[in-house]
């Protein structure tokens, strides 16, 4: 490890590795550090992502692809289901292999990759970030950099040190819990992702997902907003679900965690530092999916930061162009998804059950979003008020 780089990326998850890859591809001198002993572990993820974004960064590879998904089902609490094609072709990935493959891609592009290396603090000059204090395999050192990229995830310390950490209200955090279940053969569709929604008997204010990992196993997980995670815990809700649908299934792994679902934080750059991925709350504010969004955030950050580094101006003012790129691409959509989540959170389970039952009878494949909305509104006029929120936030304008 050297004492100075152009860029230090803290965290080798998808966003951090994507940032390191893009910076290295642009010819910059990059250090990519990961605090864990091994990249991709522990997995804290439902492991669904889209093919298009993945291919922007690395070739598709059977080593990390568990399943190709061609349909999604939205299932209500009484078993009616609406089946829709994915908005973008989906894969279920093995995050451990995926994360390592992407980090390797960054390393092959020239980034210096180091595991067991933790950021202890930031170096500053006149308030601007000029590097980081690190501990690498037990040895402390100071490393200077023109730019530090905070990609250290949901519990980002680096964003906190930079003064960028915001702590949203509990209603804007999902509490998550997931089992990877096995011995499921014949009890689920291994080509289809399911979302189970039921605010009173399935997951208050959130949903349960069933994402196939193989013909015999699936990630079965739950998210519920933190303000509704008591008195029954996310774990207890998920155990109820599993007992009901997959009694006797084997548990291959357990994952717990929390995800901010506000949409990206407004300020994602200060002098000499940018924040990307979960550290910047870039996950989808409805589903909380964040793999491809974090990678896109990293790409946008580097699209702005690489020329800024070249011209020698890494001021907040120069770097904050990245926020404008993000807003332009995802701002309106995430605003709409946030609004949809708030509507779903408020909806009584019985109303949602009726809505899904109604939609299940419509020829969805041949209908536009507007036609679908019109049909549903005719059946459920009370939705009209909610639909106005959606229209004003732009969902139907897309």
């Amino acid at each position: 490890m050297k004492t100075a780089y152009d860029v230090i990326v803290v965290g080798a998850g998808p966003a951090g590795s994507a940032a390191a890859l893009r910076a290295a591809q642009a010819g910059l001198d990059v250090l990519l550090i990961e605090k864990r002993q091994e990249i991709g572990v522990p997995v804290r993820c439902g492991e669904a992502t889209d093919i298009e974004t993945t291919e922007r960064f690395m070739p598709l590879d059977a080593r990390y692809i568990n399943r190709y998904i061609n349909r999604y089902a939205i299932v209500n609490a009484v078993g009616d289901r609406v089946i829709v094609p994915p908005s973008s072709p989906t894969i279920i990935i093995d995050r451990k292999v995926f994360d390592a493959a992407l980090a390797q891609e960054a390393a092959r592009a020239g980034a210096e990759l180091r595991v067991s290396t933790t950021a202890l603090g930031l170096l500053r000059e006149n308030g601007a970030v000029t590097g980081a204090r690190l501990k690498s395999m037990g040895r402390a050192c100071e490393v200077r950099a023109k730019l530090v990229v905070a990609a250290d995830g949901v519990e980002s310390q680096v964003a906190r040190w930079a003064g960028l950490k915001t702590i949203p209200p509990l209603a804007d955090y999902y509490v998550g819990f997931q089992f990877t279940l096995t011995n499921l053969r014949g009890r689920f569709d291994p080509d289809l992702c399911e979302y189970h929604i039921g605010s009173e008997t399935v997951a208050p204010g959130g949903y349960v997902w069933v994402f196939p990992k193989s013909e015999d196993s699936a990630n079965v997980g739950i998210v519920i907003p933190a303000n509704r995670a008591r008195p029954v815990s996310a774990q207890a809700w998920l155990e109820r679900f599993v007992e009901r649908f997959y009694p006797g299934a084997g548990i291959l792994s357990v994952v717990a965690g929390g995800i901010p679902i506000t949409g990206a934080i407004k300020q994602m750059a200060v002098d000499g530092l940018v924040v990307v991925g979960d550290a910047a709350h870039q996950a989808d504010p409805l589903t909380a999916g964040g793999i491809s969004l974090g990678m896109m955030g990293a790409e946008m950050a580097m699209q702005v930061a690489v020329p800024a580094i070249r011209r020698g101006d890494v001021s907040a003012q120069a770097l904050r162009e990245y926020e404008a790129l993000w807003r332009e691409r995802f701002g309106k959509m995430h605003g709409a998804l946030y609004a949809v989540r708030k509507i779903l959170t408020r909806m009584a389970e019985a109303d949602f059950n009726k809505l899904v039952a109604q939609a299940a009878r419509l020829p969805l494949a041949t209908m536009s979003h507007a036609e679908l909305m019109a049909q549903l509104l005719r059946a459920h006029p009370a939705l009209l008020l909610e639909a106005r929120t959606l229209i004003t936030t732009g969902l139907l304008l897309k």
Binding site: Y173, S233, Q235, G258
Partner: protein, 82 residues
């Protein structure tokens, strides 16, 4: 926001955050929502700095497995100045 925190602090000043390490998965969900940054994952061991903890209760709500709780402080601790 600060006012809110202070209020909850006043309401809960006689309580103390307790971590059930048997239940904890070291997932860090609580660390992310702690306003004063009083929770730490040292490797996989979750610890709380009781001196800076405001007993705001956010981490308790956030825990996927209900491993955290605010319990009445025992008088003994006061006497020891903890």
């Amino acid at each position: 926001m600060l006012k809110l925190l202070n209020r909850s602090n006043n309401r809960q000043h006689d309580k103390r955050l307790v971590i059930d390490h048997d239940l904890c998965f070291s997932c860090g969900a609580c660390v992310a929502v702690c306003p004063p940054d009083s929770l730490f994952l040292l490797d996989i061991h979750l610890t709380v700095d009781h001196n800076t903890c405001t007993r705001c209760d956010r981490c308790v709500a956030m825990c996927p497995v209900h491993a955290l709780s605010l319990v009445p402080e025992e008088p003994l601790h006061h006497e020891n100045g903890v």
